[in-house]
Symmetry: C2
């Protein structure tokens, strides 16, 4: 069952291309033994292109991207506070546009601790959970506006959109993942304040639950969830939550498990009606670009999620094991460059 | 300058009355030396009253509460999952109603670490910051709705309302607090996604900043802020943020500084057009009620915020010092009951 993967690569800005190169290296290294062929096409998108040309995501590029099996993204983003780069332009115009155009309704963010990686927590209980964040609704739909802008009477709104259709499909996905893991699903919301949105989330979870009798369900308000993520993160297995809460919880999760340099993510269209996109959770980190200091592990683990999504679990596992072994080897060893880490993990997947 | 304080007390449910009794004890103890007289009236509100009578906050009670200088609240809330207590009924009908009716636009939540109190973090760098959370706008306004409820075509919305008026007054308050502290203000929002709401917040902060030249301003996205709260909480001095982000960040802040048993808060109307309300951040904790296990320290520290608000900083400082000394004395000592802790702090303020 040889598989050719038409892979669109969006390296992006600053450390984006640096970490993407290593992820690609590892993908190419693992591929032959699993009878997989990687056919990459690179797309130049991000802050640099926008600053040079004013283009964020031309329709023609969007059409080309659609014609791939999957997308690997490094990181996009300019220098903080760059006056030529209005806040939100790349986020809304590129990252979120891809999530919406390609219906990435499952925003998948695994969090686990790695032996040997220091965390900010005093406890070293092993952490291993997945956040299934809804990716196409909520406050991210861009449904808001401003009147009397710039005056003392300015009024700005943001509308959170939540549909039973949108909630149910991501909730089902989360239940299925919980069943395949430790059988525990936690809904996180703020049902006591956001009674309308919270109502549909709570109802859908309650309605789907009987179809997954082996999954134990509980509920936490988002504020309480942040407490447990710090005091008892080992209690979580699968968390399902809305777009904004998921954004917040996953950065927090990355922090408690030892840092954003290891956090991978997938913007997944489980129905495969359009390419899914995999990317490290970290940003383009202008401050460390060009120095070989970026940790490519999150990008490499994102490539593992990519293979898993395309039905290559053995190849995915191989990358995960290699990355885990490499991470374990870091404790006490001298720091290595981005390329050295990529080379080492690539060597491990073929060893 | 003798001051009589007409104090409305809402003990609430479960551990609410237990901790409120201790806070009141400490208030009464500190009062004479500062020429303050406490005139408390107790109001029976909360889950118990609702379950017994169907009443949440009768208009007549609201009118009586308004006729006080200040309110001290313990905690309200029933048993988790009680089918007779619909989610949101006490929150929207009582807690949030008071915030809106009495225009509590500054939701004040100091966070500090106490020597000797274990925290979930590995680092023991001292933490001392204040979150100034907007209390009357954002997603908390209750502006949302549901169509086709309970059907596969359900659509639920929540609207976040942000006005220049509402943002400016809380931002000014936060700047003033930052000037009186270490001169650092961090705006937390999600301007790259919530471009409308984020726009008014960012603009107002930029416009007010020149009036406070001694305050250094920075900005963090809410997701990044959660990372720093865990990895580097000592960097913060004053955080100003919207209602929902503030809700999330302050629970997280309470967790990283050693727990919700110590976290105090004020729902403040700085213009004094209606009574402000002070309450511990924790809930009614049905699981430990009636056993003398509740820590009254958060309620007692809330009473200190109350005195500060009423222009009694010396009395407030006295309570804070007594509570801090008591907390320090806990390390390694046998656990004490709620009353024992209250007695000890009351003894310290008069010593
Ligand atoms: C960059 C931004 C639009 C994005 C988000 O908010 O989803 C990022 O924070 C993430 O979590 O992928
Ligand atoms: C109980 C709830 C309405 C409230 C809030 O969300 O503001 C609480 O979490 C708080 O932080 O005071």
């Amino acid at each position: 069952m040889a598989q050719s993967i038409r892979l669109a690569v969006i390296p992006g800005d600053f450390i984006g291309p640096e970490v993407t190169a290593e992820a690609l290296k590892v993908l190419e290294a693992v591929a032959p033994a699993h009878d997989v062929k990687i056919e990459p096409n690179s797309y130049d998108l991000g802050a640099e292109r926008y600053l040079a040309t004013g283009e964020v995501l031309p329709d023609s590029v969007l059409a080309e991207l659609r014609d791939h099996d999957v997308i690997l993204l490094g990181a996009v983003g300019g220098r903080p506070g760059d006056p030529n780069l209005p806040s939100g332009i790349l986020e809304r115009g590129l990252l979120l546009r891809l999530r919406f155009e390609f219906d990435h309704y499952v925003n998948l963010r695994p969090s686990r601790s790695f032996p040997g990686v220091p965390t900010p927590l005093a406890s070293d209980a092993p952490i291993d959970f997945v956040v299934v964040r809804e990716g196409t609704e909520g406050l991210y739909v861009g449904n808001g506006g401003t009147v009397r802008k710039g005056t003392p009477h300015e009024l700005a709104t943001e509308v959170s959109i939540n549909t039973a259709f949108g909630v149910e499909r991501v909730v089902r996905d989360a239940f299925a993942r919980a069943r395949a893991r430790r059988g525990k699903l936690t809904l996180v919301h703020k049902t006591n304040v956001l009674v309308h949105a919270g109502g549909v989330w709570a109802r859908v979870v309650a309605e789907v639950a009987p179809e997954f009798p082996e999954v134990e369900v509980d509920y936490l308000h988002v504020d309480a969830a942040t407490i447990f993520l710090v005091t008892e993160p080992e209690r979580f297995d699968v968390i399902v939550t809305d777009n904004l809460f998921g954004d917040i919880l996953t950065d927090l999760a990355a922090a408690v498990t030892g840092g954003i340099g290891l956090a991978a993510s997938g913007n997944v269209n489980p129905d495969r009606t359009a390419p899914s996109m995999f990317e490290p959770v970290h940003g383009s980190a202008p401050g460390i670009a060009g120095q070989g200091k970026a940790d490519p592990t999150a990008a490499i683990l994102s490539a593992a999620l990519l293979l898993e999504h395309l039905g290559e679990p053995a190849a995915a596992r191989r990358i995960e094991e290699a990355a885990t072994a490499d991470i374990a080897a870091r404790a006490g060893a001298p720091a290595r460059t981005t390329t050295e880490i990529g080379d080492a993990i690539a060597a491990r997947v073929t060893a």
